[in-house]
């Protein structure tokens, strides 16, 4: 087993441990930290896969923006909330059963061997002329991203602006009744 697959197993175990910790941790801050750990492990997996851009996005957008926002909100809130002391609702047993069942069904579907002869692989995957994953390095990906998908990139800014306006509208609309 080489170093790369060892690191892959390590990061996979880290992501899984973060997910399990999210279920058992009591305080939302611990849940947030477990989620951050899980996301950082996933970023490590993406980096090992050679998809460097996604790894950078994962750290910058998810851990850097979304989770920092979440941590700030948790710090704003009351620590004496009843949902902090009683962490599980009424659906504990059916939820666990359903989740386990879903995992088993999806796992069976994913691991059931597919006849390789019947799989149509895209041409780019079969012809490995260049190093696999080289198009996901920062420089070639950025060039192709902004040359071919510039409209999508610009549209995301419109979406983000709409989200900002909507967030402000939610806050203002909630304040209006009590003056």
């Amino acid at each position: 087993m080489n170093l790369e697959s060892l690191l892959l197993y390590l990061f996979a175990a880290g992501a899984l441990a973060g997910g399990v910790l999210m279920l058992v941790a009591r305080h939302p801050m611990r849940v947030a930290l477990a989620l951050i750990g899980s996301m950082l492990s996933l970023a490590g997996i993406y980096a090992i896969l050679g998809v460097h851009v996604i790894a950078v996005f994962q750290v910058l957008i998810y851990v850097g923006a979304v989770m920092v926002f979440m941590v700030y909100v948790i710090m704003l809130l009351d620590v004496q909330d009843p949902s902090f002391t009683h962490k599980y609702g009424r659906l504990l047993v059916p939820g666990l059963l359903f989740g386990a069942g879903l995992a088993v069904v999806l796992g069976l579907a994913a691991t059931r061997g597919v006849d390789p002869a019947r799989v149509t692989v895209p041409a780019a995957a079969t012809v490995e002329a260049h190093e696999p994953g080289a198009e996901f390095l920062i420089q070639p990906f950025s060039a192709e991203f902004l040359a071919e998908y510039w409209l999508h990139f610009e549209l995301t800014s419109v979406l983000l602006l709409a989200a900002v306006v909507a967030a402000i509208a939610v806050i203002k609309g909630g304040r209006r009744p009590d003056g």
Partner: protein, 100 residues
């Protein structure tokens, strides 16, 4: 175990863990975070397949999903804050009279 299979299994496990979290936890913010975990699991499978097909469009799609997820959180958290300000609690059991 094949690398793609390992990553697919991890993605399924993360999705199932997130789903269980959404169903069993009582705290609204924790439920939001579990939804993020589900999204991360799905993104992992998308990245795995995009990397295997050596397709840039997959990575671009992941970027767009990240942006949509950030926008979703930016709207969801103010809603949760307003709910908690109105009912003085984050416990979803207190919101059980919210019916469509």
């Amino acid at each position: 175990m094949d690398r793609v299979q390992l990553l697919l299994a991890l993605s399924i496990a993360l999705f199932a863990l997130g789903l269980v979290g959404v169903m069993v936890r009582r705290n609204a913010l924790v439920m939001l975070m579990c939804m993020e975990l589900m999204l991360n699991g799905v993104i992992l499978s998308l990245v795995t397949f995009a990397q295997r097909a050596a397709d840039t469009a997959g990575a671009v799609l992941v970027f767009l999903i990240f942006v949509v997820a950030a926008a979703e959180i930016a709207i969801a958290i103010p809603i949760v804050l307003l709910l908690s300000r109105q009912r003085k609690t984050l416990d979803v059991e207190a919101y059980s009279d919210l019916r469509g």
